[in-house]
Symmetry: C2
Subunit: 132 residues, 2 copies
Amino acid sequence: MKRNTWQRQAVREALDTSQGFVSAQHLYAGLRESGSPIGLATVYRALADLAVEGEADSLQSTEGESLYRACSTQEHHHHLICRNCGTTVEIEADAVEQWAASTAARHGFTEPRHIVDIFGLCAACSAGARGA
Amino acid sequence: MKRNTWQRQAVREALDTSQGFVSAQHLYAGLRESGSPIGLATVYRALADLAVEGEADSLQSTEGESLYRACSTQEHHHHLICRNCGTTVEIEADAVEQWAASTAARHGFTEPRHIVDIFGLCAACSAGARGA
DNA sequence: GTGAGTTTGACAATCATTCTCAGGTGGAAT
DNA sequence: ATTCCACCTGAGAATGATTGTCAAACTCAC
Protein backbone atom coordinates (compact mmCIF):
# COMPACT_ATOMS: atom_id res chain seq x y z
CA MET A 1 0.00 0.00 0.00
CA LYS A 2 1.00 3.63 -0.44
CA ARG A 3 2.49 5.21 2.65
CA ASN A 4 2.10 8.69 3.91
CA THR A 5 5.46 10.19 4.74
CA TRP A 6 6.39 13.76 5.61
CA GLN A 7 8.62 13.82 2.55
CA ARG A 8 5.74 13.23 0.20
CA GLN A 9 3.73 15.87 2.04
CA ALA A 10 6.59 18.30 1.73
CA VAL A 11 6.80 17.77 -2.02
CA ARG A 12 3.05 18.11 -2.39
CA GLU A 13 3.02 21.34 -0.41
CA ALA A 14 5.99 22.77 -2.28
CA LEU A 15 4.18 22.04 -5.53
CA ASP A 16 0.96 23.64 -4.28
CA THR A 17 2.85 26.72 -3.20
CA SER A 18 4.54 27.39 -6.50
CA GLN A 19 2.55 29.35 -9.05
CA GLY A 20 3.77 27.76 -12.26
CA PHE A 21 5.62 24.75 -13.51
CA VAL A 22 8.78 23.87 -11.61
CA SER A 23 11.58 21.46 -12.28
CA ALA A 24 12.44 18.69 -9.87
CA GLN A 25 15.81 20.32 -9.29
CA HIS A 26 14.24 23.67 -8.50
CA LEU A 27 11.75 22.14 -6.13
CA TYR A 28 14.52 20.25 -4.40
CA ALA A 29 16.61 23.39 -4.04
CA GLY A 30 13.65 25.23 -2.56
CA LEU A 31 12.94 22.51 -0.05
CA ARG A 32 16.56 22.37 1.06
CA GLU A 33 16.67 26.14 1.42
CA SER A 34 13.67 26.07 3.71
CA GLY A 35 15.53 23.67 5.97
CA SER A 36 14.17 20.35 4.84
CA PRO A 37 16.71 17.50 4.80
CA ILE A 38 14.85 15.73 2.00
CA GLY A 39 16.87 13.83 -0.58
CA LEU A 40 17.00 14.53 -4.29
CA ALA A 41 16.04 11.03 -5.34
CA THR A 42 13.04 11.23 -3.06
CA VAL A 43 11.83 14.39 -4.74
CA TYR A 44 12.06 12.70 -8.13
CA ARG A 45 10.19 9.68 -6.85
CA ALA A 46 7.49 11.73 -5.20
CA LEU A 47 6.95 13.83 -8.32
CA ALA A 48 6.76 10.76 -10.52
CA ASP A 49 4.19 9.24 -8.17
CA LEU A 50 2.11 12.41 -8.04
CA ALA A 51 2.14 12.59 -11.81
CA VAL A 52 0.96 9.00 -12.13
CA GLU A 53 -1.77 9.47 -9.54
CA GLY A 54 -3.02 12.52 -11.38
CA GLU A 55 -2.23 14.97 -8.62
CA ALA A 56 0.35 16.73 -10.75
CA ASP A 57 0.70 17.61 -14.40
CA SER A 58 4.02 17.43 -16.13
CA LEU A 59 5.53 18.70 -19.34
CA GLN A 60 8.94 18.77 -20.97
CA SER A 61 10.79 22.04 -21.06
CA THR A 62 12.65 22.84 -24.25
CA GLU A 63 15.91 22.34 -22.34
CA GLY A 64 15.16 18.73 -21.60
CA GLU A 65 13.93 19.10 -18.05
CA SER A 66 10.66 17.73 -16.76
CA LEU A 67 8.46 20.38 -15.20
CA TYR A 68 5.68 19.70 -12.71
CA ARG A 69 2.67 21.54 -11.41
CA ALA A 70 -0.14 20.91 -8.97
CA CYS A 71 -3.34 21.64 -10.85
CA SER A 72 -6.66 22.71 -9.38
CA THR A 73 -8.53 20.14 -11.37
CA GLN A 74 -7.67 16.58 -12.21
CA GLU A 75 -9.82 16.73 -15.29
CA HIS A 76 -8.13 16.86 -18.63
CA HIS A 77 -7.05 20.38 -19.45
CA HIS A 78 -4.29 22.39 -21.03
CA HIS A 79 -2.02 25.25 -20.06
CA LEU A 80 -1.24 28.79 -21.04
CA ILE A 81 2.24 29.50 -19.74
CA CYS A 82 4.22 32.72 -19.50
CA ARG A 83 7.67 31.94 -20.81
CA ASN A 84 9.14 34.80 -18.84
CA CYS A 85 7.77 34.42 -15.31
CA GLY A 86 6.25 30.95 -15.52
CA THR A 87 2.74 32.02 -14.51
CA THR A 88 0.32 29.38 -15.68
CA VAL A 89 -3.36 29.52 -16.52
CA GLU A 90 -5.38 26.35 -16.85
CA ILE A 91 -7.57 26.30 -19.90
CA GLU A 92 -10.29 24.06 -21.23
CA ALA A 93 -10.46 23.33 -24.88
CA ASP A 94 -13.36 21.18 -25.88
CA ALA A 95 -12.98 22.39 -29.43
CA VAL A 96 -9.40 21.20 -29.50
CA GLU A 97 -10.27 17.85 -27.95
CA GLN A 98 -12.78 17.24 -30.68
CA TRP A 99 -10.46 18.46 -33.38
CA ALA A 100 -7.75 16.09 -32.13
CA ALA A 101 -10.10 13.14 -31.99
CA SER A 102 -11.57 13.71 -35.43
CA THR A 103 -8.22 14.46 -37.04
CA ALA A 104 -6.77 11.24 -35.66
CA ALA A 105 -9.81 9.28 -36.82
CA ARG A 106 -9.68 10.80 -40.30
CA HIS A 107 -6.16 9.42 -40.73
CA GLY A 108 -7.04 6.03 -39.32
CA PHE A 109 -5.31 6.59 -36.01
CA THR A 110 -6.77 5.16 -32.84
CA GLU A 111 -6.31 5.90 -29.15
CA PRO A 112 -5.37 9.53 -29.73
CA ARG A 113 -3.68 11.48 -26.99
CA HIS A 114 -2.44 14.96 -27.50
CA ILE A 115 -0.07 17.57 -26.24
CA VAL A 116 -1.45 21.07 -26.46
CA ASP A 117 0.16 23.96 -24.65
CA ILE A 118 0.45 27.65 -25.38
CA PHE A 119 3.50 29.68 -24.42
CA GLY A 120 3.43 33.46 -24.43
CA LEU A 121 4.09 36.52 -22.35
CA CYS A 122 1.55 37.27 -19.63
CA ALA A 123 0.04 40.74 -19.30
CA ALA A 124 2.54 41.81 -16.65
CA CYS A 125 5.57 40.56 -18.55
CA SER A 126 4.30 42.04 -21.80
CA ALA A 127 4.13 45.43 -20.09
CA GLY A 128 7.56 44.93 -18.60
CA ALA A 129 9.07 43.93 -21.93
CA ARG A 130 7.65 47.06 -23.55
CA GLY A 131 9.13 49.22 -20.82
CA ALA A 132 12.54 47.55 -20.69
CA MET B 1 29.23 31.80 -44.17
CA LYS B 2 27.57 28.38 -43.98
CA ARG B 3 29.65 25.64 -45.53
CA ASN B 4 28.48 22.68 -47.49
CA THR B 5 30.16 19.57 -46.13
CA TRP B 6 29.44 15.95 -46.89
CA GLN B 7 28.62 15.47 -43.21
CA ARG B 8 25.77 17.94 -43.38
CA GLN B 9 24.53 16.31 -46.56
CA ALA B 10 24.66 12.91 -44.93
CA VAL B 11 22.57 14.09 -41.99
CA ARG B 12 20.09 15.76 -44.32
CA GLU B 13 19.73 12.62 -46.39
CA ALA B 14 19.41 10.38 -43.37
CA LEU B 15 16.64 12.63 -42.12
CA ASP B 16 14.87 12.61 -45.46
CA THR B 17 15.06 8.84 -45.62
CA SER B 18 13.48 8.19 -42.25
CA GLN B 19 9.71 8.15 -42.16
CA GLY B 20 9.08 9.56 -38.74
CA PHE B 21 10.80 11.45 -35.99
CA VAL B 22 14.24 10.17 -35.06
CA SER B 23 16.55 10.95 -32.21
CA ALA B 24 20.04 12.30 -32.78
CA GLN B 25 21.43 9.10 -31.26
CA HIS B 26 19.39 6.90 -33.56
CA LEU B 27 20.36 8.90 -36.62
CA TYR B 28 24.00 8.71 -35.61
CA ALA B 29 23.79 4.95 -35.12
CA GLY B 30 22.22 4.53 -38.54
CA LEU B 31 24.88 6.61 -40.24
CA ARG B 32 27.67 4.67 -38.57
CA GLU B 33 26.06 1.38 -39.53
CA SER B 34 25.97 2.40 -43.14
CA GLY B 35 29.69 3.00 -43.00
CA SER B 36 29.88 6.72 -42.44
CA PRO B 37 32.68 7.84 -40.12
CA ILE B 38 30.70 10.88 -39.03
CA GLY B 39 31.09 12.07 -35.45
CA LEU B 40 28.34 12.25 -32.87
CA ALA B 41 28.92 15.89 -32.06
CA THR B 42 28.64 16.70 -35.73
CA VAL B 43 25.26 15.04 -35.98
CA TYR B 44 24.02 17.11 -33.06
CA ARG B 45 25.38 20.29 -34.60
CA ALA B 46 23.91 19.53 -38.01
CA LEU B 47 20.50 18.75 -36.55
CA ALA B 48 20.50 21.91 -34.48
CA ASP B 49 21.40 23.93 -37.58
CA LEU B 50 18.72 22.30 -39.70
CA ALA B 51 16.15 22.98 -37.02
CA VAL B 52 17.13 26.63 -36.84
CA GLU B 53 17.09 27.02 -40.62
CA GLY B 54 13.62 25.52 -40.76
CA GLU B 55 14.65 22.44 -42.71
CA ALA B 56 13.76 20.17 -39.81
CA ASP B 57 11.11 20.11 -37.14
CA SER B 58 11.87 19.00 -33.64
CA LEU B 59 9.94 17.91 -30.62
CA GLN B 60 10.72 16.52 -27.19
CA SER B 61 10.01 12.88 -26.53
CA THR B 62 8.55 11.99 -23.16
CA GLU B 63 11.86 10.37 -22.28
CA GLY B 64 13.76 13.59 -22.55
CA GLU B 65 15.21 13.11 -26.00
CA SER B 66 14.96 15.58 -28.83
CA LEU B 67 13.45 14.10 -31.97
CA TYR B 68 13.92 15.49 -35.46
CA ARG B 69 12.18 15.14 -38.79
CA ALA B 70 12.54 16.53 -42.28
CA CYS B 71 9.17 17.94 -43.20
CA SER B 72 7.75 18.40 -46.66
CA THR B 73 6.67 21.92 -45.95
CA GLN B 74 8.40 24.66 -44.06
CA GLU B 75 5.10 26.29 -43.27
CA HIS B 76 3.80 26.08 -39.76
CA HIS B 77 2.07 22.76 -39.21
CA HIS B 78 1.54 20.05 -36.65
CA HIS B 79 1.99 16.29 -36.45
CA LEU B 80 0.00 13.16 -35.96
CA ILE B 81 2.43 10.53 -34.77
CA CYS B 82 2.09 6.80 -34.30
CA ARG B 83 3.53 6.00 -30.92
CA ASN B 84 4.21 2.44 -31.98
CA CYS B 85 5.95 2.67 -35.34
CA GLY B 86 6.71 6.37 -35.49
CA THR B 87 4.89 7.05 -38.73
CA THR B 88 4.10 10.71 -38.93
CA VAL B 89 1.42 12.63 -40.78
CA GLU B 90 1.68 16.37 -41.21
CA ILE B 91 -1.52 18.17 -40.45
CA GLU B 92 -2.76 21.69 -40.80
CA ALA B 93 -4.89 23.19 -38.12
CA ASP B 94 -6.09 26.66 -38.85
CA ALA B 95 -8.84 26.22 -36.30
CA VAL B 96 -6.28 25.41 -33.63
CA GLU B 97 -4.06 28.32 -34.62
CA GLN B 98 -6.94 30.69 -34.17
CA TRP B 99 -8.05 29.08 -30.96
CA ALA B 100 -4.53 29.43 -29.56
CA ALA B 101 -4.25 33.05 -30.57
CA SER B 102 -7.62 34.04 -29.19
CA THR B 103 -7.20 32.07 -25.99
CA ALA B 104 -3.87 33.73 -25.33
CA ALA B 105 -5.34 37.16 -26.06
CA ARG B 106 -8.31 36.56 -23.80
CA HIS B 107 -5.94 36.02 -20.87
CA GLY B 108 -3.79 39.01 -21.73
CA PHE B 109 -0.92 36.96 -23.10
CA THR B 110 1.07 38.23 -26.05
CA GLU B 111 3.39 36.58 -28.55
CA PRO B 112 1.72 33.21 -28.32
CA ARG B 113 3.47 30.13 -29.59
CA HIS B 114 2.07 26.70 -29.16
CA ILE B 115 2.90 23.05 -29.06
CA VAL B 116 0.21 20.88 -30.58
CA ASP B 117 0.85 17.26 -31.43
CA ILE B 118 -1.34 14.18 -31.50
CA PHE B 119 -0.03 10.74 -30.61
CA GLY B 120 -1.97 7.62 -31.43
CA LEU B 121 -1.78 4.28 -33.15
CA CYS B 122 -1.81 4.34 -36.94
CA ALA B 123 -4.17 2.12 -38.90
CA ALA B 124 -1.56 -0.61 -39.38
CA CYS B 125 -0.50 -0.66 -35.74
CA SER B 126 -4.10 -0.56 -34.55
CA ALA B 127 -4.77 -3.69 -36.58
CA GLY B 128 -1.62 -5.31 -35.28
CA ALA B 129 -2.49 -4.52 -31.69
CA ARG B 130 -5.91 -6.11 -32.10
CA GLY B 131 -4.36 -9.23 -33.51
CA ALA B 132 -1.59 -9.59 -30.94
C1' DG C 1 5.24 -2.69 21.13
C1' DT C 2 6.53 -5.69 17.11
C1' DG C 3 7.36 -7.29 12.62
C1' DA C 4 7.24 -7.00 7.69
C1' DG C 5 7.49 -4.58 3.93
C1' DT C 6 8.01 0.25 2.03
C1' DT C 7 10.48 4.39 1.66
C1' DT C 8 14.40 7.05 2.19
C1' DG C 9 19.00 9.07 1.24
C1' DA C 10 23.86 9.17 -0.07
C1' DC C 11 26.23 8.08 -3.83
C1' DA C 12 27.25 5.72 -8.01
C1' DA C 13 25.73 4.92 -12.59
C1' DT C 14 23.51 6.17 -16.87
C1' DC C 15 22.25 8.78 -20.79
C1' DA C 16 21.66 12.55 -23.86
C1' DT C 17 23.79 16.56 -25.00
C1' DT C 18 27.42 20.13 -25.08
C1' DC C 19 32.16 21.71 -24.68
C1' DT C 20 37.07 21.79 -25.92
C1' DC C 21 40.65 22.14 -28.93
C1' DA C 22 43.86 20.49 -32.24
C1' DG C 23 43.79 19.35 -36.90
C1' DG C 24 41.23 19.32 -41.37
C1' DT C 25 38.72 21.62 -45.14
C1' DG C 26 35.64 24.65 -48.24
C1' DG C 27 35.72 28.11 -51.17
C1' DA C 28 36.82 33.03 -52.22
C1' DA C 29 40.58 35.53 -53.81
C1' DT C 30 44.53 35.38 -56.50
C1' DA D 1 45.61 25.59 -59.65
C1' DT D 2 47.38 27.56 -55.19
C1' DT D 3 46.95 29.95 -51.02
C1' DC D 4 44.84 31.29 -46.92
C1' DC D 5 42.00 31.27 -42.95
C1' DA D 6 37.67 31.19 -40.72
C1' DC D 7 34.69 27.65 -40.07
C1' DC D 8 33.95 22.68 -39.44
C1' DT D 9 34.94 18.23 -37.64
C1' DG D 10 35.90 14.51 -34.37
C1' DA D 11 37.50 12.26 -30.15
C1' DG D 12 36.95 12.41 -25.74
C1' DA D 13 36.07 15.01 -21.55
C1' DA D 14 32.60 17.54 -19.13
C1' DT D 15 28.01 18.62 -17.81
C1' DG D 16 23.49 18.06 -15.96
C1' DA D 17 19.27 15.74 -15.29
C1' DT D 18 17.52 11.53 -13.93
C1' DT D 19 17.58 6.73 -12.25
C1' DG D 20 19.55 2.64 -9.82
C1' DT D 21 21.53 0.54 -5.56
C1' DC D 22 21.25 -0.95 -1.02
C1' DA D 23 21.52 -0.61 3.88
C1' DA D 24 19.19 1.90 7.45
C1' DA D 25 14.92 4.26 8.98
C1' DC D 26 10.22 4.42 9.15
C1' DT D 27 4.94 3.35 8.57
C1' DC D 28 1.25 0.84 9.54
C1' DA D 29 -1.42 -3.19 10.76
C1' DC D 30 -1.82 -6.26 14.40
